[in-house]
């Protein structure tokens, strides 16, 4: 494809948002083995609002609530430093959150219709970590104002330092601080429970094995499935009643992607957040990575019925015990790239708390809910990533974001099995 992509996002200014109170503590935050395994990836969350809570920007009350919130998150405003042994850790030096302001030359609806994964990455700010990270800001916020109103708030960080739940809770807490509500999930900086870390080695130095660089161009698309589509499928296909929407949609996409890839594609990597799966559950506010990556195999998956695959996935997830989580922790990152080394399916069911999807409850002004929330992983491997995310409408609907090599994606977009569900396809770059 020789089309030069025009950049529709223009960065206007950059400043550093500081916390409201000095941290007054010399505590440092080391990285766990899991954190270090994630070091090749970056994480970006983009929340789209139809109306911007920002005004003049410099004197907005939203900035003040951000500063107050940042006082609760010292690692977000701290800086990465190397110990004399070459091990990385986060120092609580209060340097601040780098904040950029940008303007998008199209309206928010036009953007959601016509932008693709690469365009979305313009909505977030990122710079790779240099040799000397003392002035490098790991966490970056970008406020993108759309033509005619609407805003996209993009928060980026190295995946080594936080996972999607951490960033979602941070953004939600910011909106709670702004509306002067009680913060439902305050951050917790305690280490992972010892039951998980007992027989891991001492922290390995940060050299992941080198995997082949990703040479294929990737494309992303987001499929929005309604609640009724799920119910229809359950009835028509007679899927077992205990199937969760994740099971069904994951099975659907696994089989269809396997078909498109034309391999028998036996193996996927399932990513599940284990905060609530432990016998002593970690709070949602746990800061850092709490993800379980486990392999799931099935022969000739493309020919299998969705119900069969869904049952396999359901059993796998239900049987995640502490021992299984611990052994998976020991093996994570052995291949280098965690996301995309095998086709990776990400489960975000835990973000639905009492029927309410957490990210869509991040509301600055009453009545102005996010219209869409995107999660993007940087440096994804060649096999691709499927993310099954909650839908803005409560219920059984889901939003599935797929990242695949370009050719495979173009075939997937016309796949009849998927189109049967009448999904609304956004952010796929269709002009």
């Amino acid at each position: 494809m020789g089309i030069v992509r025009e950049n529709r996002v223009e960065v206007k200014s950059m400043l550093t948002a500081v916390s409201s109170k000095p941290s007054r503590s010399a505590r440092v935050h080391p990285f766990t083995t899991l954190d270090n395994a994630m070091s090749r990836h970056t994480l970006h969350v983009i929340v789209y609002y139809p109306r911007s809570p920002f005004g003049s920007f410099d004197l907005d009350s939203v900035r003040i609530s951000l500063s107050e919130l940042l006082s609760m998150y010292p690692p977000v405003v701290g800086r990465v430093a190397k110990t004399p042994d070459g091990i990385l850790e986060v120092k609580r030096n209060d340097a601040g959150l780098r904040t950029l302001k940008a303007k998008v030359c199209v309206g928010i609806d036009e953007w959601l219709r016509s932008a693709d994964g690469h365009d979305e990455s313009d909505l977030t700010a990122w710079e790779d970590m240099p040799e000397d990270p003392s002035t490098w800001a790991p966490f970056r916020l970008q406020i993108n104002e759309f033509e005619g109103g609407g805003v996209a708030i993009g928060l980026s960080c190295p995946h080594r330092q936080a996972d999607a739940t951490t960033l979602t809770v941070l953004l939600k807490s910011w909106t709670e601080a702004q509306r002067r509500r009680c913060i439902v999930h305050p951050p917790s900086f305690s280490p992972l429970p010892s039951i998980l870390t007992d027989d891991t080695d001492a922290v390995k130095p940060n050299s992941a094995p080198i995997s082949k660089p990703i040479s294929t161009k990737t494309a992303t698309a987001t499929f929005r499935f309604s609640s009724s589509a799920f119910k229809k499928y359950i009835e028509e296909e007679g899927i077992f009643p205990k199937a969760s929407p994740f099971d069904v949609f994951a099975a659907l996409f696994w089989t269809r992607v396997a078909l498109v890839k034309r391999k028998s594609h036996d193996r996927v990597c399932l990513c599940v957040d284990f905060r609530r799966l432990l016998p002593n559950p970690l709070p949602y506010g746990f800061f850092g990575n709490a993800l379980n990556f486990s392999s799931l195999e099935m022969t000739n998956v493309a020919d299998q019925g969705i119900g069969h695959v869904a049952r396999l996935i359901n059993d796998h997830v239900t049987n995640l015990t502490v021992e299984k989580i611990r052994s998976d922790l020991n093996r994570v990152g052995e291949q280098g790239l965690v996301y995309g080394g095998d086709l990776t399916i990400v489960n975000m069911e835990h973000m639905i708390v009492e029927g309410d999807p957490m990210m869509y409850d991040a509301v600055f002004e009453d009545g102005v809910r996010p219209v869409h929330v995107s999660y993007r992983i940087g440096n994804v491997g060649g096999e691709g990533v499927i993310m099954v995310m909650p839908s803005p409408e409560k219920g059984f609907g889901r939003v599935v974001s797929v990242t695949l090599p370009e050719e495979e994606m173009s075939k997937l977009l016309v796949d009849q099995e998927i189109l049967r569900f009448e999904p609304k396809i956004i952010l796929s770059g269709v002009k």
Binding site: R63, D94, G96
Partner: protein, 497 residues
């Protein structure tokens, strides 16, 4: 060994009592003289008895005309005295600006921005870091929003919005505290040294608050960090001429347009020290304000050393080799400040020092002039004249120098040091933050005397002496309300960055 300290202790205790006795004697000399005379007079009267007193009285032969003339004369003299007495100038109340938390500048952020902006000049970055480490500033000082950008965006619009933010917030607070209506303001003086737009900042205030058309407004610019006391002096003079009036003084320094963008070391110094701040003060000569006013102005002394070239050039605004404008601070700044202070003390000493100190000073002066020029000059003990000191928080070196010269204790300079730590050098308004600190600590009692000393480019040294009019309750709001319990803090000589 235990014997040796004992004599020193007893001798120093003896000396202290001698000094105390001497001070009581000289300061209350007239009372000491008067008491024996009154006693003798009383004894004499008692001895004479009532008949003899009446006889003496009748022998004086007063007649009506003489009595009338004498009383008329007395009334005339007292009227002339009361009319020519200068009006008492009251400081009704004042309000200091507290910046929002988004403007806070932690050390790490300051150094990070410095490294990112001056990436080709590591030596300049090193210099800034060394200054910041030893500056005495804390982690909660504030810079205006435009300076937080990488690179800073010091447009004129940004400077105006900083001016509006700090001045209007301080004035709103002052109006609320004093219950004054904007249309009742008679005199307005705004001083801001380095930002002077057209229309002036005082016109901006008049426009915002819809002040009266016959208001006497003055805008002072270019007068440096001592302009706050110059404004007070001007207000005092105007209030002598206009009866039954009040005056609002706004002291501030607008940082946005003056943030040095080059890399000349001597000119990077102000970037490390100057911070955002403002104060609004209400002064009045109305008799009705004497119950609610916080302070009375006793003296105001201005000293200008501009006639000396070295003093004139020591704080000099100029362009560097690349055309960036900044303020060059010379290395002799401390010495020049010391000289200016000496000149100021020479004038203010006789006005405020008790007679005991003045006598000692006179004797030592005579001794040096006539007998032995090598005698050490006697430094009067100003702690006897004042309960509180507000030394302009120009920098740690200034406060150290003055503490040494005036032989002040740590508690006397605590207000200055803590203001430097919490708010940085806010230029002309820093004296008001310091005064607010003393009030917030609950140390200000009725009758206490406060000495405010300000230094400024030129080179000027201005002093104001206030007397507390009523014991001030710890204020519930104000710039120190959320952090006063943490103060005083220990400020290390060098903060490791």
């Amino acid at each position: 060994m235990p014997q040796a300290p004992m004599p020193e202790l007893t001798s120093s205790v003896k000396l202290k009592y001698v000094k105390l006795g001497y001070q009581y004697l000289v300061n209350h000399f007239l009372s000491f003289l008067l008491i024996p005379i009154m006693a003798i007079g009383a004894v004499e009267l008692l001895r004479m008895g009532p008949e003899e007193i009446l006889n003496v009285w009748n022998s004086l032969e007063f007649d009506l005309v003489q009595v009338l003339c004498t009383s008329f004369f007395v009334i005339f003299i007292s009227t002339v005295y009361f009319m020519s007495k200068p009006r008492t100038i009251y400081l009704v109340d004042y309000s200091c600006y507290k910046p929002p938390v988004t403007c806070r500048v932690p050390f790490a952020t300051f150094m990070e921005h410095s490294r990112l902006i001056l990436k080709d000049k590591p030596k300049s970055v090193e210099f800034q870091m060394r200054i910041l480490e030893r500056s005495g500033l804390g982690e909660e000082t504030s810079l205006p929003p435009a300076i937080h950008y990488i690179p800073p965006t010091p447009t004129m619009d940004a400077a105006r919005s900083e001016a509006q933010l700090v001045i209007f917030t301080a004035m709103d607070d002052l109006f609320k505290k004093t219950g004054l209506k904007p249309k009742d303001v008679d005199i307005l003086i705004v001083n801001c040294s380095l930002f002077s737009p057209t229309p002036s900042l005082s016109a901006m205030v008049i426009n915002k608050y819809k002040l009266r058309s016959n208001i006497k407004s003055v805008n002072l610019s270019g007068m440096g960090c001592s302009a706050g006391l110059i404004s007070v002096d001007l207000a005092r003079d105007l209030l002598q001429v206009h009866p039954n009036s009040n005056a609002i003084i706004v002291s501030t320094e607008i940082i946005t347009p003056n943030y040095y963008q080059g890399n000349e070391r001597a000119m990077l110094l102000p970037n490390c020290l100057f911070r955002m701040g403002a104060a609004a003060i209400l002064m009045s000569n109305r008799r009705s304000d004497r119950w609610r006013a916080k302070y009375k102005l006793s003296h105001l002394v201005r000293t200008h050393r501009g006639s000396d070239d070295k003093s004139f050039y020591c704080v000099y605004e100029q362009e560097d080799k690349e055309g960036h404008v900044g303020i060059n601070l010379s290395k002799d700044l401390m010495a020049i400040a010391g000289e200016a202070l000496k000149a100021n003390i020479t004038t203010i000493g006789p006005l405020v020092l008790p007679a005991s100190e003045q006598l000692l000073f006179l004797l030592s002066l005579i001794g040096r002039k006539i007998f032995n020029p090598k005698l050490k000059p006697y430094i009067p003990d100003f702690k006897l004249a004042f309960e509180h000191f507000c030394i302009h928080a120009g920098g740690r070196a200034v406060i150290d120098e003055l503490q040494k010269n005036l032989q002040l204790s740590g508690e006397h300079v605590e207000a200055s040091r803590m203001t430097l730590h919490r708010f940085g050098n806010t230029s002309s308004s820093s004296l008001w933050y310091e005064l607010s600190y003393i009030e917030s600590k609950g140390r200000m009692r009725r009758g206490d005397r406060v000495w405010q000393i300000a230094f400024g480019s030129g080179f000027k040294c201005n002093s104001a002496v206030w007397k507390c009019n009523r014991t001030i309750k710890t204020p519930k709001d104000g710039p120190w309300s959320d952090c006063i319990d943490r103060y005083p803090v220990f400020i290390p000589e060098v903060v490791k960055l």
